[in-house]
Amino acid sequence: MKYVDEFRDPALGEVLAGEILGLVEPGRHYKFMEVCGGHTHSIYKYGIDDLLPANVELVHGPGCPVCVIPMGRVDDGISLAHQPDVIFTCFGDMLRVPGSDGTLLDAKAEGADIRMVYSPLDALRLAKANPDRPVIFFAIGFETTAPSTALTLKRAKAEGVSNFFCMCNHVTIVPPLRALLDSPDLRLDGFIGPGHVSTVVGVRPFEFIPAEYGKPISVAGFEPLDVLHAIHMILTQLKEGRCEVENQYARVVPYDGNPRALQVMSEVFELRPHFEWRGMGFISQSGLKLSEAYADMDAEIQYGVPGIRVADPKACQCGEVLKGVIKPWECKVFGSGCTPERPIGTCMVSSEGACAAYYNYGRFAREREVV
């Protein structure tokens, strides 16, 4: 595949891995967080971990939009899906995320009309094809996907589609990062910044990370060479005693992001005072809801949802795993109460979560050498 294979060249990967080895200080342990679930996916898909020295550890961050949806929101979604005549639409990986009493997949088996879509526009198309039935889109994701939801809602309004609704679970990237950085027990040496989010918000919003918290960050693309390059850049900063925001993904990410996408988001959404994150609790101003102008399309307002907060199971220590305070296997329920087949916490839900990855892969990640 042109413009893709170039960034998957194993020979170049080997060169970068060699240089990374040269940048690592012997005896020092490095912990870098890749913020975005897309990076976690690349790291596992290509086995990038294997190319790093064993004292460079990658910690999987809170940037998997599916895994951070709390149980209560899944329950709310399921209650909407069970409303009479409703066609409930969501992305496929949302179907398996457990609420307090089962998943959307279970609700589908119980008779709810739940359909997997690949884009909010697919959901709008369903609404137009079924004018006598309400179609609800369960919107998730960071600033990456929020603009496409916003555009879809704008289009629905412009076209006068009155049976299209949105349950908005969009979240923003900066508040959870700040929450992580504020926690006293954080042990991280740098960040691999989220590439796709940055195509929308730009690089500027991450300036506070080096400025206020003294941690270097490199905004990175998602091909394996991108990820290795970003690690190379962070290690170079540490070696040279610099601490700044760098843009590895400059071929796609402009410094100021995408002003038109930000504009359409500000028309359609407004910040919630706070939003709950699975494993991390409530984070203020971290979630989006539909603005007043779009209240008639807000499924939460038009249908009402139970909105009951379901506490994360007590034994679950996802928050600590996300912060890099404990390793997955140190969690009390890891491998016993919490497994990939029956996950409790966010880190086990997605196959890319830190715990699921360790469960499947842990034993074999130990062949690397420590410098």
Partner: protein, 362 residues
Amino acid sequence: VASEVSEREQKVLNIIETARAKRSKFRDTQITMAHGAGGKATQSLIEGLLVPSFANDTLEAMADAGTVAVLGGNVAMTTDSFVVNPITFPGGTIGELAVNGTVNDLAMAGAKPLALTLSLILEEGLPAEILKEQVAAVAKASAEAGVPIVAGDTKVVPRGMCDQMYMCTTGMGVLDDRASLSPAALRPGDKILVSGRIGDHGTAIMLARGEFELDADITSDTMCLWPMVDTLLDQAGPSLRCLRDATRGGVASVLNELARASRVAMVINEAAVPVHPAVAGAAEILGIDPMHVANEGKMVVIVAPEAADAALAALRSAPGGEAAAIIGDCRTEPEGMVLMATAFGGKRVMDQLVGDPLPRIC
């Protein structure tokens, strides 16, 4: 210096290992689409409910077909249902699948297919024209495979109780003397082959449904595999360990099942796996691994190392096997697991399909 594994961590890893080795239990409260997808949920249904309920040695071997000793010979039997949507798609139809799918399951057991039965479940209101087309498709595929339809049954259900038509075929064959195949026969060192480019069928169906607004020239690979198996048995018969057609759940699910059944590890070389560029492109866009995508005319072949080249040559000499390749080998550790050596130079665990990205594929 390898990093130390603490005593506590080792304990946790051992617990996981023990859990993994256990037969999966069927603990779900209701059937979801995932139970039909050929991945982990299907496995728990089969190993946790069906096999223990009918407990017998033949079934417990978990081969594609069961064998029954009849009058001094060994007869192989298998059955399969077809609920594909849409019923016609580029490169095939439900009628062709119904013949080839069952014939292939016999072939995978090393049995020469001899006869089929056909059950039809038809929806009230189905246009006779569509039924005639599919009956003709069954007739053509059965003639091509040289396997007659010797009995049948027809049921009609009220409109809305089934989607146009479902088919069920049962096949009977006779075990070939040249074959001694078993999912538990794999040994460290054995070579792993696929008989051609993978992922065509699932991708063709996905595109035929028109849900993704993707357009590519991909056709289903549905075909009868017996001629290829016949050649293979000729060229490498005694050295063949196991054959599996990689239908639902794809090649990844087949490899995981075999690795568990034989208690071996597998290492697959990603760069060696043949995939049509258009299939790779569609999979890339949709975030699906071609190793998880269904095939209807491709098989996984496990063979002793000394016969690997002969087996490869045999596959490539058969029609439809031109792109066959050796994609990996069996190892001792880690038992029961399939690892992928990525084209980028790393390694990852290649797990079975979890969930159901694509229902009603066959």
